[in-house]
């Protein structure tokens, strides 16, 4: 039988111990900047899903996700529309900025989006320099692969020039890099030419009310594909041993 006074003292001791044992995590925000493959979508466009959507479901409560990615944006237009400035102004020390552009930068057939390679490089460097001034932490991500196979069933690289630039900037400025292009290319290869359609916005006419004419899209993901891409990014965070890795949901 423990005396009530002693019990109370024990409890206080225990509380003190727990307070030291449990790491007190400072809150952090992951800012996501990028294009349509990453962004949020309204449910009216379901099953269209950016990988930033499922990505947000795998962190503990110390993390807030701010997905600022927008469809159709290149680094140039993201800056031109003042979207970057808005992010930069709101950064706190210790925040993360996940950067994934390329799909629209490299699209020469869309002059309103196109960003020449050297401008793309400069824009990435601008993001990194400015966010580091705010003591935020950049993560560079190569553009997620498009679905393209050659006649013998090999998944083909679709962002050769622009992915290379991302890797070079990461190396030069010592920025953690998630080579999503390479990772997703492997994922597509694993699914194979036919089954990789299951990851993308591919619907038969009449299959889904939101796309009555059907859709055949090798760039944008459905909910299933977006989750697989989000899993690759989580894997990338773990592989880089970022502090953020400790904040990924752990099963107790």
């Amino acid at each position: 039988m423990i005396k009530p006074g002693l019990k109370k003292a024990l409890f206080v001791c225990l509380l003190g111990l727990v307070a030291f044992t449990l790491p007190i995590r400072k809150h952090t925000t992951i800012w996501m900047i990028g294009d349509s493959t990453m962004c949020q979508y309204d449910s009216s466009r379901f099953p269209l899903t950016g990988w930033g959507m499922p990505f947000a479901e795998y962190f503990d409560s110390s993390v807030t996700i701010k997905n600022e990615a927008r469809g159709g944006r290149s680094t140039r237009t993201f800056i031109g529309e003042n979207r970057w400035q808005k992010v930069a102004d709101n950064l706190s020390a210790g925040d993360y900025v996940f950067i994934q552009f390329g799909h629209n930068d490299e699209a020469k057939n869309y002059p309103d989006r196109y960003t020449p390679p050297e401008d793309y490089r400069k824009n990435l460097m601008k993001f990194i320099t400015q966010l580091r001034e705010k003591k935020a932490l950049p993560v560079l991500i190569t553009p997620v692969s498009r679905r393209k196979f050659d006649s013998s069933g090999n998944a083909i690289e679709t962002h050769e020039v622009y992915s290379k630039i991302v890797r070079e900037v990461a190396a030069q400025m010592n920025v953690p890099l998630i080579d999503l292009d390479a990772m997703s290319l492997k994922l597509l290869q694993r699914f194979g030419e036919k089954n990789s359609t299951l990851l993308f916005m591919q619907l038969l006419p009449g299959e889904n009310p939101d796309y009555p004419l059907g859709i055949h899209d090798n760039t944008h993901f459905n909910a299933y594909g977006a989750r697989h891409i989000a899993e690759l990014i989580l894997q990338g965070i773990n592989d880089l041993h970022l502090e953020l890795s400790d904040r990924i949901f752990k099963k107790s």
Partner: protein
Amino acid sequence: MPFAILFLIMSFVLPEKQETTVYLIGDSTMADKEVKAYPETGWGMPFHYFFDSTVAVDNRAKNGRSTRTFIEEGRWKPVVENLKEGDYVLIQFGHNDEVPTKKSYTTPQQFTANLVKFVTESRNKKAVPVLITPVARRKFDSSGKIEETHAIYTQLVKDVAAKYKVPLIDLDKKSQELLQQFGPDDSKYLYNYLAPGENPHYPEGHKDDTHFSELGARKMAEIVLSEIKNLNLDLAQHIRVVHQKEKK
């Protein structure tokens, strides 16, 4: 004062929009999931997205429930109490009723009686019941042919539907056809299959032949939606109409 008058006029001019509620009652294959269970997805989750603004989907389905435990836990009563004329009740049970070793086991006679109770009490409130046979499990024989996994309980659902003239969606049959089309290997994509280390919610990996991935859940929801059209239910008029632009 002029504002008050305008308001008064408007309240007569604007027809009050009567919202139809579609209640989903059933088990884990239909239920909304907690985030920590993602990417496991019930087909009721994507089903939310496909209607116009006059329809609200209220998914009351719960993991592990049979018709019996759904009623015993007081989950059916609040549905009946809230039902209004023109509402729908989509009923899909069987997975937990049919397993004798489960606490939720419900004898065939009791299963039938419970379905009749759902149908009758919905109709007493002038709501429209729709019976749905239990969605297929992923089970193939050695020759790669899909196997029926709910033979007895699916038949009971059909019998009640025939006897009481209830609109029936034979999801068991339709989902088996879909599984057959995918085949023994590729049908895994429809279910919650995860490699070890792939997903933080399932660190050891996961192999589940009952519960769906996002893909499987959406495909099942699409089947139910398409059958609602085939049945010519009024509800079909409220499936969202999207004018998709032709691709140039």
